[in-house]
Subunit: 234 residues, 2 copies
DNA sequence: GATTATTAGTGACTGTAATCACATATTTTT
DNA sequence: AAAAATATGTGATTACAGTCACTAATAATC
């Protein structure tokens, strides 16, 4: 059934496009046209979508799942820069300039993505100036995130840094339950350490300390219950 | 003399516009039109162009001089995020979103800027899609810088961090002389410390150490001679 | 379901940078 | 040019996070 398959592909594409802020201002007709240009790919947990040094030829939009973006420091430690999830896009920096990828993006779970080739992307930007504005806006948000991370990396007191991380995650991933806020950590202890730029052992110790103080409760490796959110805010 | 004053204003505006990559793709006629929309302002050393929390209504382009962008960490320390100089622009993130300024921009010397109002900027973006692409490109560069800083902040070894800073400055501000590379530091010791996220005393000590090792020579507070660049690269 | 691999917690020890305190230089102001 | 303000260098001490080494727990694989 050609109609069915076409409808299905259309439907799948629409799904992807509707999740992404940069396509929001488009009308039905334009969306349909652009949907035709989009390719789909799936990744297993732990696979790299692209690696530091790669030459990219498309912009990638996450449709399902999450991924970490990291680069290696001079010491050889993995420094996590971003966590990307549903609706986030990346690779746009490499489409316009000649730069190769400055970081590696690796999935944290099974991930579905939509990709749009460099040529199509550039044509779209010229055709829909609104989209360019949306992207500038989105990049503003991304920079805001990065500046926030930098600010917190500049904090010398590691307790403060872990507290802000927990509060950030609480806002993003937390669900209110009777006893407090239950949150599903997107990263392992090592991941958290690589995000904060501290040793894995330090993260373990600080979390143990918080548990001793009755501020959090460790539910499982990847899940924490925040009992006293106010204490984290100081 | 109206012609003269007009020519002069035109000339001044042209100066400003020619320094800025985002206006580079425009033809003469368009440049002339846009030049009319640009306002000029001067700042003394130490003045703030805008402050964390301000509501901005224009994009600012530096025409002459330099400035630092910083925000305060939770501990009350000043964390420097960027150094802006001739040709750099900022404030574009706040024009499209409702966000207020997330950092303060303070001049490091006398500074001349050109400003373009929010309304004009948005109209230009819709009118010249090329310009949007230029800005996306430029933001990509800015993010690249920030990611680089983050990476280096994640380095635990402070010697390494100071070494990279000196190498960065050497590339940006250094001039080759007989004995090595002479560089005019854009920041004081305290500024360097606030950029690296370490104590002022630590910067002093590390630089003294480098001087004892014969790798650098302190010429004056704001000027350093790098004698052995290779040693800094390890 | 057993085995292997990965991830996490904890003690002991060490190194390094922060802090405090002050002397000295340098820059700015008057 | 003198005075005031600011910036820098350095010693002594302390605190705190890193490293190493190991055990325990959890997840992945066969």
């Amino acid at each position: 059934m050609p109609e069915n398959s076409q409808q299905c592909s259309h439907c799948k594409n629409k799904l992807c496009m509707h999740k992404v802020p940069i396509f929001n201002n488009l009308n039905h007709e334009d969306m349909f046209k652009i949907a035709e240009l989009i390719q789909h790919k799936n990744y297993k947990k732990g696979e790299s979508i692209f690696s530091q040094g790669d030459n990219l030829d498309s912009i990638v939009i996450i449709n399902e799942g999450s991924a970490k973006a990291y680069k290696y420091t001079q010491e050889g430690r993995e420094q996590i820069l971003y966590l990307f999830s549903e609706g986030d896009f990346f690779g746009e920096q490499y489409l316009l300039s000649k730069r190769t990828a400055t970081y590696t993006v690796q999935t944290l779970e099974a991930v579905k993505v939509c990709t749009l080739s460099k040529e199509h992307f550039q044509k779209l930007l010229l055709q829909y100036p609104d989209m360019g504005i949306k992207i500038i806006e989105e990049l503003g948000t991304r920079m805001f995130r990065l500046e926030h991370v930098m600010e917190s990396m500049g904090v010398r007191n590691i307790d403060l840094r872990i507290h802000s991380l927990l509060l950030d995650y609480s806002a993003k991933y937390g669900k209110k339950v009777a006893e407090g806020v239950l949150l599903q950590l997107p990263l392992s202890r090592e991941g958290i350490a690589n995000y904060l730029g501290v040793a894995r052992e330090t993260v373990s110790r600080k979390l143990s300390q918080l548990e001793n103080d009755g501020i959090i409760r460790s539910v499982s490796n990847k899940s924490i219950l925040i009992l006293n959110e106010v204490a984290l805010e100081e």
